[in-house]
Subunit: 339 residues, 2 copies
DNA sequence: GGCTGTTGGATTAACGTTAATCTTATATTT
DNA sequence: AAATATAAGATTAACGTTAATCCAACAGCC
C-alpha cells in the first residue's frame, strides 16, 4: 500500500491535518513536530496524491494541449515552447492529436475538461458547422489558439503575421520581375492558408497586378504534394520561374522535382518555403523561407494562458508575433543574407 | 457552477447514486428513469469529473510519457505512435521533456506518480549514479523504456535492433572495400550509442579487421556536429571515403560540408544516416539510412504497457523491433533500392 | 397467507486531501 | 489574579464520485 497522510499520521501519532500542514509548509506547526513528520514521510516514501488534492483545490495545475499533428516538426517546436514555459511555472500537460479532424478536436476537449484542466491551448482546424464556435463559446476554462484562429474568436489567438509573411514573399518575387509564380498554398480548412492567400493578393494588388488562378493550388501540405504539383506543372508546360510554398515540407518536394527535371535553383527557378524548419538550411540548395518563431509561439501562448487562468475576467486580445523572410540559396536576389 | 451528479439528482428527484448508475450504464435502472436523467444531464451540460471518479477507482486511465527531446523528429514519431494507441484504448497522456537530463527525468516521474498515472513510457538517459536504477526498481506502476534501455532493467525495453542495424551499415561499407570510414557516433550517455558501436565492431571483427580509433567520434547528434566533424576531418587531410552517421540529422550536416568542399556523394564519399526521418529522402542526394520503425516503436510500447497495467504480475521481456538498411542515392553499391 | 425472488431504487461509507473551526495549554497584560 | 492573547494541534466537513449494502413493493409459488 502506498503511504498517505493517514499512514504518516498513525505512524507519528499526530493528526492527519497536522501532517498535511507540515508537508505543505502551512506554518503553525512547531519545528520539532515538523521534523518528526517529515522524516517519517521520507521513510515511508510518501508521494502526495495530486488527484485527491485537486478535489478540494479548484486548480489542478494541468493544461490540455490539442495539437493538429504531433509528428509535424512545426508543431513539435510549438509544443516544446509550451512545455518549457509550463515546466517553469509548474504546470503539467495533457496532450492529444487531432489529425486536423474537428470531431476529434471536440472529443479531446471534452476529455480534457473531464480531467479538469485549468486551461487549454489548441491548434484548431476549421469546423464545417457552427458547432465548433458554440463549443468554444461555452468553454468553462480559459483557452488560447496557437498559430491559428477561428472566425468569431480571433481574440483568443497568438498568431505569427501570416499576411505580412506571405506578402513579403510575393513582394520579393514580384520585385524580381517574375510574371509566373507557382503558388502552392495550404489546405483550405486552416486559417493560415486564408491569411497567406490574402498576403499574396495584397502584394499583387499593391502593384496593380492580378495573379493567374491557374498558378494557385491548395494542397494538404506534404512533401509529395510539392513534388507532384511541380511535376505536373512541368508536364503541362506551364512557364513558371518561381515557386512559393505553403511550408518547407512542400518545398522539399518541390526542390526534389526540380532537381530531377534538371532545373537549376535559383538560376532557373527561385523557391521559397515557409516556417524555417531546422532542416531547411541543410537542403541543397539551402532553402529561403519565412522564419516563424515556433518555439516562442508556444512559449507566449502558455504565458498568455497563465494570465487568463490567474485572472479569468481578463479580456482576450490577439497577439501577433513577427515573421520574417529569410534569404538563403534557393533565391538569387539576396537582400538580407542569413544563415 | 458546473453541473454534478448532485445537481442532476436534485433536479430530477432521484438519488445521486441512481444518477451515477444511469450515466455509467450500470444497469438495474428502469428505461423511464434513465431517460429522464439522461435528458436532464444533457440539458445541464453535465461533464463527468474524472478526478473525482478516480478517487474511488484505482485506475486513472492516464499514462505519463517522459520524452528525451520533444522537438526531435525521431521522438515526435514515437510519441505519435504512443498517442495513436492510447487514443484507441482510451488512455490520456501526460507528457514531459527531459532534454537528456537525468534529474529532470526523475522529477518528471515523481510528478507523474503524484498525478497517479497507471503507467509510464520513458526514453531514459543514462544516469551517472545508481540512483536512477533504484528509482526505477521502486516504481509502483508498470513502465516501459522506448527505444533505449538501462543496464539492469533491459527487460523493460522495446528496442529497434541497434546492433544489427549498425552492423549492416558497416557490413555494407566494408564489403564495398572502404578502408577509412569516418564514424560519427552518438552521445555516450544513451544506450543506442553503445549498441551501435558494438554493431560496428562486430562488422569489423567478422572480417578480422580493427577500426581506426582516430576515425571514430562521439558527438551530441546535431547537424552542426556532422558539419564540423567533416570540415575538420578534411582540414586534417584525413583520407576517408565513407561516413557513417549516428542519425540523419548529423548526416544532413555531413552532406552540407561535403557539398561545400566539392566532394561528390556517393562518387567520392558514401554517406549513411540512421533513423530514416521523413526529410531524408528529400536530401540532395537522397540519404541512405537505417529505417527504424519509429511510429511502431511507440505503438508497441503502449500496447505492451497496457498488458502490464492490466496484469501487473506479468513478467517483463525485452522486445526488439527490426531495423533495416535502406539504400538511396548517398551510397553507390545499391543492393536493395527503395524510395 | 407466509415464503422466496425480483425489480428499482435509496442510504451509507468510503477515496485522500484541505479549509474552517474548535480546543487546550501556556504566556502576556493589566 | 482575572482577562486576554497566542501557539500548537485536533476535529469536522467537504470536494464528486462509486461500491456495498439496504429497503420497499410487488409477483409468483405451493
Amino acid at each position: 500500500m502506498r503511504a498517505t497522510l493517514k499512514t504518516i499520521a498513525e505512524a507519528t501519532g499526530f493528526s492527519i491535518n497536522t501532517v498535511s500542514r507540515v508537508l505543505r509548509n502551512d506554518g503553525r506547526i512547531s519545528q520539532e513536530t515538523s521534523q518528526i513528520i517529515r522524516r517519517k514521510a521520507d521513510e515511508l516514501g510518501y508521494i502526495p496524491d495530486a488527484i485527491a488534492s485537486s478535489m478540494r483545490n479548484p486548480r489542478t495545475r494541468t493544461i490540455g494541449v490539442v495539437s493538429a499533428d504531433l509528428s509535424n516538426p512545426f508543431f513539435s517546436e510549438v509544443i516544446r515552447g509550451i512545455e518549457e514555459r509550463a515546466q517553469e511555472t509548474g504546470y503539467q500537460m495533457l496532450i492529444g492529436n487531432t489529425e486536423e479532424d474537428a470531431e476529434r478536436e471536440e472529443h479531446l476537449i471534452r476529455l480534457f475538461l473531464s480531467r479538469k484542466v485549468d486551461g487549454l491551448i489548441i491548434m484548431p482546424s476549421y469546423g464545417k458547422d457552427r458547432r465548433q464556435l458554440e463549443l468554444y463559446a461555452s468553454l468553462p476554462v480559459p483557452f488560447i489558439f496557437a498559430g491559428r484562429y477561428i472566425e468569431g474568436l480571433e481574440s483568443h489567438s497568438v498568431l505569427h503575421s501570416d499576411i505580412e509573411g506571405e506578402q513579403s514573399v510575393f513582394d520579393y518575387l514580384l520585385s524580381r520581375g517574375h510574371s509566373h509564380i507557382l503558388y502552392l498554398s495550404g489546405p483550405e480548412c486552416i486559417s493560415n492558408t486564408h491569411d497567406r492567400d490574402k498576403g499574396m493578393m495584397e502584394a499583387y494588388e499593391s502593384r496593380s497586378l492580378i495573379p493567374d488562378q491557374k498558378y494557385i493550388f491548395h494542397l494538404p501540405g506534404h512533401p509529395e504534394d510539392g513534388y507532384q504539383a511541380v511535376n505536373s506543372a512541368i508536364n503541362l508546360s506551364m512557364e513558371f520561374t518561381a515557386v512559393a510554398c505553403f511550408n518547407d515540407i512542400v518545398a522539399m518536394g518541390v526542390l526534389k522535382s526540380l532537381a530531377e527535371n534538371d532545373l537549376s535553383v535559383p538560376h532557373d527557378i527561385e523557391v521559397i518555403g515557409y516556417d524555417n524548419l531546422m532542416f531547411s538550411q541543410f537542403m541543397q540548395p539551402s532553402l529561403s523561407t519565412v522564419d516563424v518563431p515556433k518555439h516562442r509561439l508556444g512559449y507566449v501562448a502558455m504565458e498568455l494562458l497563465e494570465k487568463h487562468m490567474d485572472n479569468p475576467s481578463m479580456e482576450y486580445k490577439t497577439e501577433n508575433l513577427p515573421a520574417r523572410l529569410l534569404f538563403r540559396d534557393s533565391t538569387a536576389g539576396e537582400r538580407i543574407r542569413q544563415s
